[in-house]
Symmetry: C2
Subunit: 392 residues, 2 copies
């Protein structure tokens, strides 16, 4: 019977840890008193087991549970439910890491395109990639398209919608996507470049699928969506079905930071396992508070370098990167690597440092920092594209 | 131009509060440096404004922002994005409360059935209702159906799937739903009762809609889903379209506790605004740590008693119930009231206290507490049904 490891950080008093660990094992499997279970096979094969408890140097205890794979139904949403559904309602628990067994991993789509697919689409073969965002919302479709044209002429690899752009009156989805894609196409023809435009898909599944159709028909070669708003199960279904989308997905972390799930696990692993081809996350030193180590761990998780779960730091400070000794190194995963996309208050001046930190399998996203250049936007965009090309 | 209030708790140092409040207003609207915005109408009509900042007795500051309604595109997912998308990634912020303007409220479906619809379906006209859960997962469909029959004979109003039941091999969705609904139908015919069975819908939207179809065809008169896993936009689309579902929705809080969104806002308001007819939440004194005041606030929010935002407690301890003086009492909302469903480690012994605390517009959910009765389950179920009927 297949089981898999889920690792939690428990911050209750030390004397309660054993009991709380057992309680979480029950909560995340049968959710009822064990003495009320009459079926031996349920006790043996369904109830989660506490495999290991050890103090974390960073505070609290790491509790490793063995969850029964069958309880996930081999589906993304139910996986999330079994990992953290009810326990998310208890404030002393954080979900640190997960190791998927092969049968469960194989049931999740993973990236359909991944780093290689995004390199093929943009023609950026070995170097790091560049990205920027169309904003602010409130501009008309044609004004956003003018920005898109400028960035494409500058040679930015990926131009995405601001995640605040949805289907608002100022620039309705269909009009915006057609105008922006046309502008990027024209710029590509003029420069011989391969800039990709990624519109943001929003709304309930019916509306979102309709937007995907519009994007495909407009010639878009990538889309963006926010899995924690749209639902990870939707991402998984979309990624699994080429007829529904068939384009690389850039995952936006909106609403994902509040989740008491370690960022490397949520953004780096779960997003990728569910089909994200590229993953945006807040870089250190910007408007957000992630540490360099968390950022490195997100990037490595997105690239599939931490699926085994045992390659992380032993001091527990790097939540989500794996806790050494809790689990044997797993064999490499079958899912393709996804492209890490650090973002959030970045500037042109930080490009060398970011390239040094993240290496070539990375896309640097600079939005406001380019838009702030005003009349010099084209020039600054060219500098960004050139700096990243040089840096590779 | 329509704006609406969103209220956050900021826990940064007091000297930084003004700057952080302005930064959040930018983050949750245009997400770029204001000096880079050339269009006056964007600065005037799109950028969020800081309306009020005041210290909270419970610690931190309450920051009231005026968000531009147009930025939400009048859609559930984009509303969530504009309320807390990027700011969720910053650890010093909690989303406390929201006041919807009528035009935005009217664009969200709200409960299609609500308390009155659930009373009509169950025949429970004026009293509190009872509910229980089928578990543990790992049982076969016929074993779960046997439990359903017992609870229906006992006169429980609503029998729901355990939220751990999805589409697993032990009891595949279609087989389980048909067996359980048949068992409940037979029991209803025998007793003249009106027990409702609510299966749990899971998976990506395509799979979930297919499950909805199976449930309808099996004769189910209610369903359950977890909006924070399936996606609030999916709930909103489902509730808005009677052809897709057309049944009352019982919302489960799974994954919702981790969200740094005040529980009364998330579970009581947002779930209802997006179409939940009944809302399960962790009762105080059980396995979860919500306070009585939080539970009362969730219940009142679900019933639509706090939509105005100004009826909450002034001491700030009751996150999500509204902060007195920050906003004028809004006019009553058009959405129907949803049924609050306290749950989580409840027992028969607590029924009088819970009835006293929550009143008649409530459904008491006791799962494990009944299942633990073993051979006496029918008797205990009857006692629960009778106690609640007496209490009304």
């Amino acid at each position: 019977m297949s089981r898999f490891r889920a690792i939690y950080r428990l911050t209750c008093p030390a004397r309660d840890v054993d009991a709380r660990a057992r309680a979480i094992a029950v909560e995340q499997s049968v959710e009822m008193p064990l003495e009320a279970i009459r079926h031996a096979h349920v006790l043996d094969e369904v109830v989660a087991q506490v495999e290991d408890i050890r103090p974390l140097p960073g505070g609290g205890h790491a509790v490793t549970l063995l969850l029964a794979t069958a309880t996930t139904g081999h589906e993304a949403g139910q996986l999330l439910n079994m990992l953290f559904g009810n326990t998310s309602l208890q404030p002393d628990v954080e979900l640190l890491d997960v190791e998927l067994p092969d049968d469960l991993a194989g049931a999740l789509p993973g990236p359909r395109f991944g780093i290689a697919g995004i390199r093929a689409a943009t023609g950026a073969r070995e170097r790091a990639l560049t990205a920027t965002a169309l904003k602010p919302q409130g501009l008309a479709a044609e004004e956003l398209a003018r920005l898109a044209r400028t960035f494409a002429v500058a040679g930015i690899d990926v131009i995405k919608d601001d995640h605040g752009l949805a289907d608002q009156r100022a620039a309705p989805f269909a009009a915006r996507v057609e105008a922006c894609q046309r502008a990027v196409d024209e710029a590509n023809r003029a420069t011989g470049g391969h800039t990709v435009y990624a519109p943001s898909l929003t709304g309930g599944p019916r509306r979102l699928l309709e937007q995907a159709r519009i994007a495909r028909e407009a010639g878009c070669r990538m889309v963006m969506l926010a899995p924690m708003i749209a639902g990870l199960p939707l991402l998984a279904e979309l990624a699994a079905d080429p007829d529904a989308l068939g384009l690389p997905v850039l995952a936006h972390p909106a609403l994902g930071g509040a989740a008491r799930i370690a960022p490397p696990l949520l953004l780096g692993k779960l997003f990728r396992w569910c089909g994200a081809d590229a993953v945006i996350f807040p870089n250190h030193g910007g408007r957000f508070t992630y540490s360099p180590e968390t950022c490195r761990s997100i990037a490595e998780s997105a690239r599939g370098m931490r699926d085994g779960g045992a390659r992380g730091r032993a001091d527990g400070t790097d939540a989500g990167g794996g806790v050494e000794g809790l689990a044997p190194a797993g064999k490499p995963f079958r899912h393709r690597p996804a492209l890490p996309v650090p973002a959030g208050g970045m500037s042109l001046e930080r490009v060398p440092e970011m390239l040094e930190f993240y290496g070539a399998d990375t896309m640097l996203l600079i939005g406001g920092g380019l838009l702030a250049a005003g009349e010099a936007m084209l020039e600054r965009g060219r500098e960004l594209a050139a700096a990243v090309r040089r840096g590779a």
